[in-house]
Symmetry: C2
Subunit: 303 residues, 2 copies
Amino acid sequence: MRFEVLILGNSSATPIYERHPTSQVINYNEQLFLIDCGEGTQMQLSRYGIKSNRINHIFISHLHGDHYLGLVGLLSSMHLVGRKSALHIYGPAPLEEILNLHFKYSETVIRYDIIFHTNNPEKEEVIYESRMLSVTSFPLIHRIPCTGFRFSEGKRNAILRADLVEDLGIPAPYYSALKRGMDYVDPSGKVYPAAELTFPAPASRSYAFCSDTVRHPIYLNSIQNVDLLYHESTFLHEMVDRAKETFHTTSLEAAEIAKEVQAKKLLLGHYSARYKTLTPLLEEAQAIFPSTELSMEGKWFLV
Amino acid sequence: MRFEVLILGNSSATPIYERHPTSQVINYNEQLFLIDCGEGTQMQLSRYGIKSNRINHIFISHLHGDHYLGLVGLLSSMHLVGRKSALHIYGPAPLEEILNLHFKYSETVIRYDIIFHTNNPEKEEVIYESRMLSVTSFPLIHRIPCTGFRFSEGKRNAILRADLVEDLGIPAPYYSALKRGMDYVDPSGKVYPAAELTFPAPASRSYAFCSDTVRHPIYLNSIQNVDLLYHESTFLHEMVDRAKETFHTTSLEAAEIAKEVQAKKLLLGHYSARYKTLTPLLEEAQAIFPSTELSMEGKWFLV
């Protein structure tokens, strides 16, 4: 079951060196989710071959321009290419007022339903839930109200021992039940225990997105044990004072956080315009947490 | 004296094929002006090597997203890179309300002065005037209030006959006065008529920007005799009904307008997403008005 993250933008507030402001696509089992929507997101989606109308849920962390200024354009383009299905937006309360003001003055009546969900910047909450995936928002500490997001996979199915079930002549329509742990009983009443016909289910995976935030214990519990942690790393640690002042994190701090919460892998991002080359940020983090990668635009990362 | 237009975006509302929404830079004698500011304008400025802080005047035609959604991001970036000088914005009245709402919720206090000028969508008005250049806004006919802009050069200086003035021993500090038509009188009282020491001043140049609009006689007077006319040409003429319905113009109509107002040259733009190749639009216009070019992103056009 696919669970991957595509980076559309990895820049902090001033886009430079062909880097774009924050936006990411999550592909979970061919369902697409968008996190943040900086200026130019619709062009980045088109550049990387993502049809915007496959996205049904958009999560906005906070109302700094580099995290949401692409939203009005994206919503309008979805409208222009004939979208009909409802779109869910999860964001800070005033976002709805901002969108409505734009639509008012451009006299745009969006043809599809926009269902707005207000994120709570004060405490962790489940904001989306399907059979196989849930999304929680949790407080980050930034200059203005800001939330991170955690995408958590539900209990996965066990893996069917295909050779065994075939040899035993178990009818195919029962395979799905076996994978979910239900035993098979044949017409004579003989029980075939699911545990014997399957390998244990793979562990459930999770992805956490933390941008923008100063390093703070408040959100550590929300990102505990994630498989992939995206954590902003705007500065090198030599700029830690500036990071604190602007409510951002350094690369070294991001690595220490990843280690502390026992993440499997760390993804850096939200790079300051002062860094033309990003290797120093990567090296600083890898010295603490070796399993670190740079988020690079256009690249998919496995969760 | 330089008078050129750089195309930053030539797309209509749905950006595609790496085309961007509308924005143009005018360079008049090394003063930079920005017309419209679609999403991604700040990235396009950076791609084409234009320092945003050299721009002191921004003109916004109307409040459809593809003409102004890049403005908040550009203003914020100007702030972040330390702009101090005042910025003049000329646009529809509600634009100020939209900008203020963004700044309110992002808790941004812009460090430089923004001086807002409201464009009148009902009649032609001079909105900017310096010694050598004036800008007028004039009504276009679109789905919402919209204005075009005309950049008109003032009376140009005559050209000094350098060999002659040197031979006559006229002191260099008087050259500038001669070029402006003032005679030189030497210490003995002898008069040297400016007319004899100069070639006639070159004609004053003008550029008009018309986007978005349905073809309509109301604005013809405002663009009469321009040297360079940018006129939107969203569709081929086979789509003329769709053009009228959406208050846009066809390529053939743009050419007929250029001919009617006796423009020297026509620049097409605001291409619909349905056209991957633009040659048919160009050919349709050239059949009526041969001196037509396609506005291409990154290209400078002489006025």
